[in-house]
Symmetry: D2
Subunit: 144 residues, 4 copies
């Protein structure tokens, strides 16, 4: 956590980071809620997210999972650090065919060398959990 940044600065940084992310824009992903150590992303499923079999491509959920966990960590680390994913694990609990998804990322442990986060992805309409995962992240302080 950057000593020089306040809570408000860090949350504002995450809002700006998410809004300006080319990847989020391409994926139709937006930031619904954020607080220290937790964010909620929303992603509307688009035709380009489907595989040729009419199911959500298996890569969409981990992309959303990584974004939710990374931004949860950014709420604690602010602009002064880069968040590098070192490991990700995801369980796919239910197939997804349409609608919109909510991804809630939470910091599990914010450490000196490594940080751990987890994520739950739910169908927005039904509330059913469609995936759960977790990850290990390196927090790399930027040189001032």
């Amino acid at each position: 956590m950057s000593a020089a940044s306040t809570r408000e600065q860090r949350l504002a940084f995450v809002r700006e980071f998410a809004q300006s992310s080319p990847y989020y824009q391409a994926m139709g992903t937006s930031l619904l809620e954020l607080e220290e150590g937790r964010v909620l992303l929303r992603s509307g499923i688009q035709p380009s997210h489907m595989n040729a079999g009419g199911l959500l491509h298996g890569g969409v959920l981990p992309a959303l999972a990584d974004g939710a966990m990374g931004n949860a960590l950014r709420t604690l680390n602010g602009e002064g650090a880069q968040i590098l994913t070192a490991e990700m694990h995801l369980h796919y609990l239910r197939p997804v065919t349409s609608g919109s998804l909510l991804a809630e990322g939470r910091v599990v442990k914010s450490g000196r060398r490594l940080s751990f986060a987890d994520v739950e992805i739910r169908d927005e309409e039904s509330g059913a959990t469609v995936a759960r995962g977790s990850g290990v992240f390196i927090i790399e302080k930027k040189q001032p």
Copy 2:
């Protein structure tokens, strides 16, 4: 493995499946090589793959990983089955900033109830391994 499909039919199905995938088209992903139990995908990194910090978004690699493993399984199962990802795990070994990626997916075990695959993602220019992963997949036979 569908008794009714030949090796040629199954490989042709995977070629068609990859070419017609909306997700692959959106991601700039193409199928370079395929044989029974193994495929090689190529994905050119696009501006829309970056996060706001100028690094490849952590969701691009699992998306590519899932595609490579799923299609490796499709070479064995052909048109008669849906491949459902149940679990995915990925290690991110090196940060990626530009260029193009090769993802090699291989079937580790093709089982009656579950199949296992692994994947290695390399930087196309340097050949350096940037990620390694594995997954568990359900093979769901389509009703004829």
Copy 3:
């Protein structure tokens, strides 16, 4: 879930299964609490659990994790099914040197083909979470 078994029969089966497990006896593991879909195991750390560096061997936590998740699944499936671990994932949050551990296993999804569970391992004295994990399990109905 076996139609022929009542809740009481299933919980009694898990109690008996845990008590008679040679592995549990060798590991000093006992079953503290159980209900449908959830168990709590306790394991006192023994000298034989340490590595040569004086830290808990990295294999003790996944062993405990697997036991807690497997028995949580047994509370739903009873004597009529074998629980086969297909995949396990664990995050090690804090090093452990002594004392006793509590492992809480919970069923996340009990499916027809696959079941998912998660686990949290805590230091009994401090309550601190030392590891979190999850797994994929195959439920194999025994032939009558």
Copy 4:
């Protein structure tokens, strides 16, 4: 890698570490082969490794996996560092009922902050792969 230790010193340290490990002795595990970045462990399956259903307890394989990966990292880091497991992932490919197991651990990337390793566990008699996994490890330099 400790600048002060030679290859011979590091390999001798791993031999000694494995032989003196209380956990290895309790598990019947021995070190068969070692070279820089790779070790081969052998573990004879004992009655105390079984669950009450007569199958190898799901915790034995990750224990062996962790030992093989940790010692592969010790061949590069020697006595001057502690190897802390941060994450482990394992796929269980085939059920095991008896005999002996070989676990081959290899370093995938030895980094400044994190190291990555993988492991393959085979049935000694048949040579069949029974499990494959990988892990993230923290290398903590000991204070001189």
